[in-house]
Amino acid sequence: MEFFFITLLNSLSYGLLLFMLSSGLTLIFSMMGVLNFAHASFYMLGAYFAYQTGLVFGFWPALFLAPILVGVVGALTERYGLRKVHKFGHVAELLFTFGLAYVIEEVVHLIWGRAPVDYRIPESLNFTLFTLFNTQYPAYRAFMMLVSVGMLISLFLVLTKTRIGMIVQASLTHPDMVQALGHNVPRVFMLVFAGGCALAGLAGVLGGNLFITEPGMAFAVGSIVFVVVVLGGMGSLVGAFIASLLIGAIQTFSVALDLSFLDLTAALGVVIDPDSKWYGGLSITISQTAPVLPYLLMVLMLIVRPRGLMGTRES
């Protein structure tokens, strides 16, 4: 029971972090049709910026400053990079972000070195929120969940209740019409890109100190965010939300399942000798494959239902 509740909480907090990461990607994708390969790099930049600004101003200002800085970098990327490449088509745009991911990682090496930096959870949040049975639940995880739920709500409100949100939504589906109505669609694009990057940056600020801030952190989450976006449906925020929680749950709960083919064959009455050549392959447990499961899910989803859970179009 204890294990179940703790794991449930963990899966929720991991899923919400994934959502913070992928919401920006979904926004960008649905608007511009670009799968931003550098999205995880903006997540990494968020963590590093928070570390650096945190050294000067402390954690709380950094919580706001770092995502803004990441947003600025994102805006520059869109204005001087993506917009130029746009006319060459989606493949060129995609490859541009692919190259950008390389460059950002190297620049991080250049500035902060290759070893992890000491970006810590602030003292004011470094305490135990409650003890469930006898496992402590850290306050910082709760804080992270709070921020991401807050972000989800405000994102929803901005997109549906404000004027700018309306324009963004309209530009998603009818960019020419919006342009004809006198709005500056390229600027809306830039804004959305910057906003999406800032969201990734925010995820970096929160994830960087909970986990670890190092140059490899972008690569580690790089492809999982694609899985979330594809699974949820291209361009659907609600879909991304569901997919994030789903993948969070799959990855955390499958860790607990120590079942393997050996158990299956044993149930069928066949016992395989540990010295057998096949033993190694058959003894792989579900928990071992946990991190691969999302990719399997993505491939299956693309084959069976390419528009994803909540998506309305294929690409």
Partner: protein, 410 residues
């Protein structure tokens, strides 16, 4: 600046194929010097540089020859390593140093052995200072390969000697990265613990993909519910840091027996979370005796501005044994030196170390040490300037780590 100069020489030589001058022994440092693991490559290069400088200062090599290091970037990739090895050959390298990454070490061992068979007049010797795959001194052993660190099985043998006397530990949990190294750690831990502590319960045995887990809390929850009192793990890098941090955040008070916590960046990222809880098994750390403290200080004073502290005792032993072999054989040619190295002994800062003739594995005392806070009273030397250091809790004699070998030299 010096490294820049060396790099320049290396490139120049690769392009115009410098002839190997007689008054120099060229040591090729074929290691990952770019990409994600470049910092580790840099650290070991500095260790090598320090030792070679010491050898050259004493000037005892036959014919007052000097050693010179040429670095080559293997990009931590086996195939690139073979290209780098070709470049090293063109530059007249006689001795190759490498250690980070067993896959590169396997590739190099094999390539060097093939090179030696195909070009018997111009042999090369491979000095492996850190690659831990047991196969390198068993089924894949070669005459031209010498290993100066203890392999996975030897380290596990030493670690389980210690766990065997820690009777307060009644159950352990094995968690490792899902690739050959982590699998080897798990297998040897299971069999050795069963043999040395039959009463000990193995509460769990998990393998997780390497470098892909962000959130270790589900694993920690699982470990917690298993009731284990200690974790044995071969994890390194962020996989180790994240595991320890996650356990501390969830208030799981448990001992960690690790292999690699002392690697660059390890202690400073784990920080307070690991005090009195994290153990490591190594062939060297700064606080073994006065001599090792002295050597640690030497490193710090040679490189005052770098982030890391002395770590690779095996680099030191490799260079010192190379020196001794050259002096004893009165030659610098790899064929003679290789013969002298085969059963050489040396008294180093941690005691007597000796090369096994049957598989070219160095036997040396190993040390279990614990991460503690340093203070003026305990007089320990810290690492990475975070006020923490390692304190020896057990020494395992070299003979205790002698493993049976399947090695048969061709």
């Amino acid at each position: 600046m010096r490294s820049l100069y060396l790099l320049f020489i290396a490139v120049f030589c690769a392009l115009v194929s410098c002839s190997d001058t007689n008054d120099e022994v060229v040591i090729g440092y074929v290691e990952g010097l770019s990409g994600p693991f470049a910092n580790i490559g840099e650290v070991a290069l500095r260790h090598l540089e320090l030792e070679v400088e010491a050898v050259n200062r004493s000037g005892n090599l036959p014919g007052s020859v000097r050693m010179r290091i040429l670095p080559f970037d293997n990009k931590t990739n086996p195939q690139e390593a073979l290209l780098a090895f070709r470049a090293a050959l063109d530059a007249g390298v006689d001795y190759v140093f490498q250690g980070n990454s067993s896959s590169v070490a396997t590739a190099l061992t094999d390539a060097i052995a093939k090179h030696n068979r195909r070009n018997p007049s111009n042999p090369v010797i491979f000095m492996n200072y850190a690659a831990l795959d047991p196969a390198l001194t068993n089924e894949h052993c070669e005459q031209s390969h010498f290993r100066f660190d203890a392999d996975v099985n030897m380290k596990m043998a030493a670690l389980t000697e210690y766990i065997a006397v820690r009777e307060d530990i009644e159950s352990v949990y094995l968690i490792n990265q899902d690739y050959s190294y982590g699998q080897a750690v798990a297998t040897s831990a299971r069999s050795m613990l069963k043999q040395k502590r039959p009463d000990l319960r193995i509460a769990g045995d998990d393998l997780h993909p390497i470098g892909r887990i962000k959130d270790f809390s589900p694993y920690v929850a699982k470990i917690k519910s298993s009731g284990a009192q200690a974790i044995v793990t071969g994890n390194w890098g962020s996989d180790l840091t994240l595991l320890i941090k996650s356990a501390r955040q969830m208030g799981v008070d448990i001992d960690f027996f690790t292999f690699n916590v002392g690697m660059t960046g390890g202690v400073s990222t784990i920080g307070e979370a690991g005090i009195e809880r994290v153990y490591q098994i190594t062939n060297w750390h700064a606080n073994i005796n006065e001599q090792t403290k002295n050597n640690a200080n030497l490193y710090r004073s040679r490189y005052p501005d770098v982030f890391e502290d002395a770590y690779y005792g095996s680099v030191r032993r490799a260079v010192r044994m190379l020196e001794k072999a050259m002096i004893e054989s009165d030659s610098t040619s790899p064929a003679d030196v290789g013969r002298a190295l085969k059963n050489m002994s040396l008294t180093d800062d941690t005691g007597l170390v000796s090369m096994r003739e049957d598989n070219h594995q160095l036997l040396q005392p190993l040390f279990v040490s614990k991460l503690v806070r340093i203070s003026a009273e305990n007089g320990l030397i810290g690492v990475e300037d975070v006020g923490l250091g390692f304190e020896t809790v057990a020494e395992i004699y070299a003979e205790k780590t002698r493993m049976p070998t399947t090695c048969q030299f061709e």
